[in-house]
């Protein structure tokens, strides 16, 4: 899995490509912990190139949403492919995340 980050003032966009599996999730969690800090008001997670999410990956995404809530910012998940969307729906994540 690859993570690309673009910071634009208070908006941070993170694009992940490849598989968000158990071995990749800790890297995303570390990146989220490091990047979502005071001053970030808008977080965009672009998943266009992510074709696989395991429960460890869902946990990482949930962690990001909790963090943005604590920062009183917003989070949007973008360009989710249909296979991954099914996983979000099955686990109730489709209801807690904002999609675009």
């Amino acid at each position: 899995m690859e993570i690309k980050k673009i910071q634009n003032d208070s908006e941070l966009t993170m694009s992940i490509s490849g598989r968000l599996d158990t071995n990749a999730a800790p890297k995303l969690i570390a990146d989220i912990d490091e990047s979502l800090v005071e001053g970030v008001k808008s977080f965009v997670l672009d998943m266009a190139e992510c074709d696989y999410v395991a429960s460890s990956g869902l946990r990482a995404i949930l962690g990001a949403q909790k963090k943005m809530n604590a920062l009183q910012g917003t989070m949007v998940v973008k360009n989710v492919v249909s296979d991954v969307m099914e996983v979000f729906e099955m686990t109730g994540f489709a209801d807690i995340l904002n999609f675009e």
Binding site: T22, Y52, A54, L62, E86, T91, G92, I96
Partner: protein, 137 residues
């Protein structure tokens, strides 16, 4: 067709395990959408074994991949370890209706497995934990 893979139960071997499952699903022409979900299930269960079954000592995990000639659209996958008794199916389902701040972290993986697979069972037999699951397409 019956295929078998034996590995040391470590997270380093996750990709070997998932590669084995993907390769064989491709051989039996399982549609990609279904294959991805089956792989998610195997990952969840294998990660459980690699993380909890052996606690500090090293141990093995065996995977069996079976597709009967009579039912070419159905796969039967067995995951076996010799670790301490552990039935992952007993884990309580998470409340999927809570919002982000209330959502707890645990139980999600097994919940996904139960949702995706058609059948799944656990048994403890001769010092082994044995998970057997099936999926048709």
């Amino acid at each position: 067709m019956k295929k078998e893979l034996n590995v040391k139960a470590t997270l380093e071997n996750l990709h070997t395990v998932l590669g084995f499952i993907e390769e064989n699903l491709e051989l039996v022409e399982c549609p990609m959408k279904i294959a991805m979900k089956i792989v998610v299930c195997v990952e969840e269960l294998y990660v459980n074994v690699a993380s909890y079954a052996y606690e500090g000592v090293s141990g093995d995990c065996r995977l069996e991949f079976v597709v009967d000639d009579a039912t070419p659209n159905r796969v039967n996958i067995t995951i076996l370890d010799e670790g301490k008794p552990f039935n992952p199916l007993e884990k309580e389902d998470p409340d999927t209706t809570l919002d982000a701040d209330e959502r707890e972290i645990g139980g999600l993986g097994i919940f996904m497995v139960k949702n995706i697979m058609d059948t799944i069972s656990y048994e403890r037999k001769e010092e082994n934990n044995i998970i057997i699951m099936e999926k048709s397409w």
